[in-house]
Symmetry: C2
Subunit: 409 residues, 2 copies
Amino acid sequence: MKGACIVGQSGGPTAVINASVAGVVLASLKNENITEVYGALNGIEGIITENIIDFRQESIEEIERLKYTPSAALGSVRFFLDDFKKNELVYIQILNIFKKYNIRYFFYIGGNDSMDSCHKINEYFKYIGYECNVFGIPKTIDNDLRLTDHTPGYGSACKFVATTISEIYLDINAYKKGRVTIVEVMGRDAGWLTASAKLASLNGTEPDLIYLPETNFDINHFLEDIDTIYKEKQKVFVVVSEGIKDKDRDYILKYRNFNNNDSFGHLQLGGVAAFLCEIISHKFGYPVRAIELNLPQRCASHLSSEADINDAYMCGLKAVEFATNNISGKMVSIVRKDNNTFDYDYVNLEDVATLVKEFPLEYINDKGNNLNDDYLDYALPLIKGESQLEFVDGIPRFAKLNKVLVNKK
Amino acid sequence: MKGACIVGQSGGPTAVINASVAGVVLASLKNENITEVYGALNGIEGIITENIIDFRQESIEEIERLKYTPSAALGSVRFFLDDFKKNELVYIQILNIFKKYNIRYFFYIGGNDSMDSCHKINEYFKYIGYECNVFGIPKTIDNDLRLTDHTPGYGSACKFVATTISEIYLDINAYKKGRVTIVEVMGRDAGWLTASAKLASLNGTEPDLIYLPETNFDINHFLEDIDTIYKEKQKVFVVVSEGIKDKDRDYILKYRNFNNNDSFGHLQLGGVAAFLCEIISHKFGYPVRAIELNLPQRCASHLSSEADINDAYMCGLKAVEFATNNISGKMVSIVRKDNNTFDYDYVNLEDVATLVKEFPLEYINDKGNNLNDDYLDYALPLIKGESQLEFVDGIPRFAKLNKVLVNKK
């Protein structure tokens, strides 16, 4: 099938989501079945509003540079797509644009919510009889997509967390008498990213305690651990997930009178480290410091791992290869081989959409306050190698796209 | 004069304070006047308690690696040294240790409080007639030491801030409708480090508003600026110094019922971004996000600048050269030449001790909410070049010292 392709980005950005765009675009430009290569600005919203750019107006050099450029170069969106049987209007808008530009290949880079949108669009095209091969490309720092060994974005976030934890460890150990330092890591429901703090054990800069959302966080046990370690070492180094929960599976942060929901109805997290610091300060009077790693976890592309950049790029490349071989309604998946190298395959979008891959409980120690070394075997291949990000005059040179709109050419 | 030398570190760590140790140690090992090369653990405290290590027990490879290792490898201390005329006891303890090990060269790496200690010790040695050349080596991310063009530690902190601001800029611009994002940068009384956010303008990722402690922060003008920009762009990107002050020169944070003093009697800062976010949220209901850059500003050695590493190293090297040429009671200073390269000279410790170098008001724009481009000319040479930090298995390989104590050999 000959026709144009379009690529879009959706959900929270990562350090390497643009590497997947580079993979899609560079493969598409060379593919004989693909006539034009388009980019949707701000995901589905850009399709509906016809904010579509022409990648033939971009230099190959800048497209290559996308591998080292964080955030969503095409712009992202949080767009909840209703079932087409409930509201067909948006689907008709999308279809009209696809017909207008003869778009026959749709590549959508995102997490589980985005894979759900992708799946619904594929279902609609089948229902309406419009020939278009739809492919999802995984991304998320949370690593919580099912049926893939890991997600692009995770390895770089891990490398950022492990490196930063390692540097902070050295810093807080400069003084003989220190504080209780609590570092807060992103991860709403899965502890994948928080677990990466354990990687700092490889150079001897491991935190004392690591708490994931998968265990039941018991404040009394926590305070006992803090007290014991502080009395012994005059300092404690703790890493917690923003999403730690109590035995009733309520977010610990709920106890802080905090309520703010995003457009998917999720509770906005952040601040649990500061909350725990307050409790420790009141209870023991120990000096405390809360550190939220915050947005750099998902955008510090200067610390992207080479392995992750390569994964993200390959997922884009493979999506084009699979889709032009007439496969549709799938997401590219990463398969681990025995020697800890990776192959690329695909899985059904509907088996991934809105679902969550659980963090294996066997990686967590019995006391629920640290990880076992097995996790390291899993994570190590994902953080290998360093980014080749170029610096000019001491600051990063990121990709700059011309973004020539197709309807304004 | 022949004798041993000792080097110590003091005050808040930086990403390159260990590069100065490397400079002192490598120069001392080669210097014919220096018989032994010692390191004081935790600064002056290590001298008094005889926690002194022998650098001849360390490999040259690990000493070289100190250039890329953050925090104080010898341990730091916040130690207030009273005037010897008020309390001679500590001075006698120091003198006894110096005599015991025939220490004739004392190198102390620190900020203005540490230069004060250094000056007092030098004065005491002169008073008591003990021959020892005392040299201060500047360090601080705050860049607030007088009589030096800049301080080692500042350039790397700037490179970290500029790179991180640039990455955050791309991240928060992924969505069409964004938030008011306020990034908080360290800097108690001087806006030097906060100013470095302006460096992001070099790649087009500059914040909308930048506030330093040097101007009078007016909450009404601030809220007007936020409202105007948010209405225009649906997002605002602000960078503030933790030390911003009102027209009465009170910390804005004082309005948040926050009080906690460190061992020098300074108010503990941090949290002003969150405080301003609360105000904006209550006043306008705009979505907000506070980001404290926190400790990584002073320990993210993976983002150290080559220029800064070289400065820190050269300051250590030059201190040895000057001291063994029988100069004492001075601090190494960095002198800018017409072509924006640097020479190394020295200044009197007493002209630096406890004093602060003001941020030039002419770098700040008329409205007090941003910087002029002149600042860029000043800062650019300091962030040039990248760290050669080695990564093993994807995480940093930092220096590991054996730390063999001299009295336990």
